[in-house]
Amino acid sequence: MNFDFAAFLEALIHRSPPHVLEHLLLVLVPLLLAVAISFPTGILLTRPRYRPFAGQVLALLNAGQTIPPLAVICIFLPVWGLGYRPAVIALTIYALLPIARNTIAGISGVPLEVREAARGMGMTAREVLLQVELPLSFPVIMTGIKTSAVLTVGTATLATLVGARGMGAVIFAGINFRRVELILAGTLVIGVMALLLDRILTLIEYALTPRFLR
């Protein structure tokens, strides 16, 4: 395999862009779904009534995380078939753990005496959650979301194997046709996407973080 710089540029400028949007959708949709599932679940698992189950749920999610993403997709192949939808479902499952774990860790990390004081002043459990626990755990929760985001940018590459396309289409074409330029171009684009997504989320986090925590 020889490296052909012109071909590399061609792959970067002409082949990749059409797949960037596909890839972005394969990242953002599962990410939003994962936040929608994991964030409320994480909160619920820190409420006194459900706290005893937090450990078990995390263990389950942890186990899920150890299954290779390709295997997750394959396991559900008979159920969901090929295409965009099963890819999104698999990627969502994959993105759940970091968000749930950090939501639980963040809220549990709020100092006991702060919670006690808030309760002691007469805040309702709801007010304590919204005005104390969530603002204080926000940076930790955002870290979980960023971890999931970066993770999903990478694993979404595999979605092309079940026909969902994305940047994986470029990389796997490179593998199949032994064109190292394609592999490199695809990898570079994915890397930049991961970095940009992380930056953007960091900016959002900064804008929303209570002033003292910055």
Binding site: P111, E113, V114, E116, A117, A118, R119, G120, M121, G122, M123, T124, E127, V132, P135, L136, P210, R211, F212, L213
Partner: protein, 325 residues
Amino acid sequence: MIELEGLTKHYPNSKKPAVDDFSLKMAEGETCVFVGPSGCGKTTILRMINRLVEPTSGSIRIDGKDVLSADQDQLRRNMGYVIQQIGLLPHRTVRDNVALVPRLLGWAEERTLKRVQELLGLVGLDPEETGGKYPHQLSGGQMQRVGVARAMAADPPIMLMDEPFGAVDPIVRSRLQDEFLQIQHSFNKTICFVTHDIDEAMKMGDKVAIINEGKLVQHGTPMEVLSQPAGPFVRNLLGEDRGVKLLDLTKCQDLMRRDEGLLQKLQGNPCTIGALQPVKAALEVMLRKDCDTVTVLRGDRAVGALTWQEIKGHIHGLSGEDHEL
């Protein structure tokens, strides 16, 4: 009036109850100090009064109304609480921390801010300078002041104060105590004050409740406790210098002799003391200036005299048969 009756708390997985059949009445406007060694159950009692801890058995009534069937959040909003670990909200400014309860109660913002301003001044913090700071930018003593201001914000008739001056050095503590006594005199709140410092208890309390292993050992005025300690535990807690502590509680004007003849003789006596000073201070003057008689002054005028004999007699009289002094 707060009435605790047969209050007992048995935490799960512990052998002995943390609070054991505890009964006590606190009159309106009275400061009652709970004092006892670490782990004797002081915090648990306070937290049962505002229902952060549910009693295993017993009852709590405030002005005759059963606390245990009241709405928790409403109850707490009407009860100032200074927690032992201070517990300021780290993501809120000092101003917003103090404004917490007024806002929960739905006060108009203007009234809230005015009140915050007033309270910060009251606890000796500059509202302009400190109001916008975050808790982590404050010293320990400043944080405690904010904690006290926060508890007082909505002007609750009852205050629960758990070692409110615990995190500061003795000098600052003594100043905070004095300032708080000043505040208390002008507001007439019912205060449950927790400390493990017996001197603080004697200084701050109208009444003192001495607690050991969850049980009430003695309840009375500081004078009663010092002069008639109920048993060896209390005597031990009071320390070897019980007599001196007694002299600290007695004002010179209460013990002095108003004897015109004696005053005549004492003209020009270099040993003098203010009438409102504790007798302990008069004793200090005697020792320092090596004299047996101190002239008691109100302003510039001599109003009485204190002799060494009288001070000795006072200690012996109050402590009665107790020869351990």
